[in-house]
Symmetry: C2
Subunit: 194 residues, 2 copies
DNA sequence: GAAATTCATTCACATAGGTTAAGAAAGAAA
DNA sequence: TTTCTTTCTTAACCTATGTGAATGAATTTC
């Protein structure tokens, strides 16, 4: 039970957890379920949870100054999702999170997060690494956007996540790639011709 | 002395520091100077410092899979710069850091960082917020790249940092904006015509 | 099951930015 | 100074992506 979560954590902190420590950490997590197309976090509201996804699929969206929404992250099984900025700063969220499928997750609240930090020093490290990885990933996405064209980025995305084609509507993939749905349609058409 | 640094930290953690705590923290920082055009950190090497810039100007560059370099950050007075990934993970750096001007900085090593964390719990918070801000900033940069054209991004950049025009060569500004130097030149030409 | 949405495709045309190449300007070095 | 090197500008042409509009398919709603 919860072996995936345990491995997910141990991989990040690069250390095995004792059974008691892991059990203690689990006690701070609460199972939650959301039906498909649920808004889990609305921008401007307060983000009081970090979610570990056991089953299902969610997206996070950032709304820019012009009011346009951009897909920031796809989070499926064994991923973490939240508005870490709002969660840690206790300020209104800048991100919206929605389910694309029925979802089962484990939620840690800010209060439990603080408790866990006190009792389990390893978890401070774990969450710092979580932010750090998100940051590195974000930087590399910028570099990739500057270097590769949309066709290459699309190929890479579906190569690493072939199931997205079944699970994610194309206009959201287009948004994640930074292009319009029509352009993605044209790219797919060109790919098939070659 | 070091009032800017103190304010920089207090602003982030949103708490005043006692004189003794700040003095203790300062004792973990070592002053360093670099002449213009010095490579402070080379990609593939180990990043053992985080720098607080007292005077001067540096850039960090990310090299992508095609070997192209992209300016990730301009760091001038009162900014922090490092390869946080390499610093925390103790793996080879993915970022290069160079001075554009003669620079005076305060450096904290990984060893001193660990000591400071033990003696000064506030600083764990400070560095987590440092990463967190870098992450949020990076995400917003992606959204901006997808929404605004290069001319708008250039205007915004020089509007918030008018001194860049004097201090930073245009080809580095172009790299930061994700365009070629010739394109920036054309954009500037069009701006003057209007 | 019909009506209403939402989503994907296609096309013609517009535009931002890339590419190549040449020369001017500005700095650094001698 | 003169030379050498780096940076910036300009221009002609090319390509990727955006825009708007039409159409059909798929999904949702009633």
């Amino acid at each position: 039970m919860h072996q995936n979560l345990r491995q997910n954590i141990e991989r990040k902190i690069n250390t095995a957890l004792s059974d008691t420590d892991f059990a203690l950490f689990l006690s701070f997590l609460e199972p939650v379920t959301f039906p498909k197309k649920t808004i889990v976090l609305e921008a401007e509201h307060f983000c009081s949870n970090i979610y570990y996804i056991e089953k299902g699929l969610l997206i996070s969206l950032l709304t820019d100054e012009k009011g346009e929404k951009h897909v920031v992250q796809f989070a499926f099984e064994d991923h973490w999702i939240s508005d870490l900025y709002s969660f840690f700063s206790q300020k209104p969220a800048i991100i919206t999170i929605e389910t694309l499928e029925d979802t089962m997750a484990l939620a840690i609240t800010k209060e439990n997060f603080e408790l866990a930090m006190q009792k389990l020093p390893q978890f401070e490290r774990f969450f710092r690494i979580l932010i750090q990885n998100a940051y590195i990933h974000s930087q590399q996405r910028i570099a990739k956007t500057f270097t590769d064209d949309a066709e290459q980025r699309y190929k890479d995305l579906i190569c690493t996540n072939p199931n997205f084609l079944q699970r994610v509507p194309q206009y959201l993939i287009a948004s994640f790639l930074g292009i319009k749905p029509q352009s993605l349609s044209r790219i797919r058409q060109n790919m098939h011709k070659k």
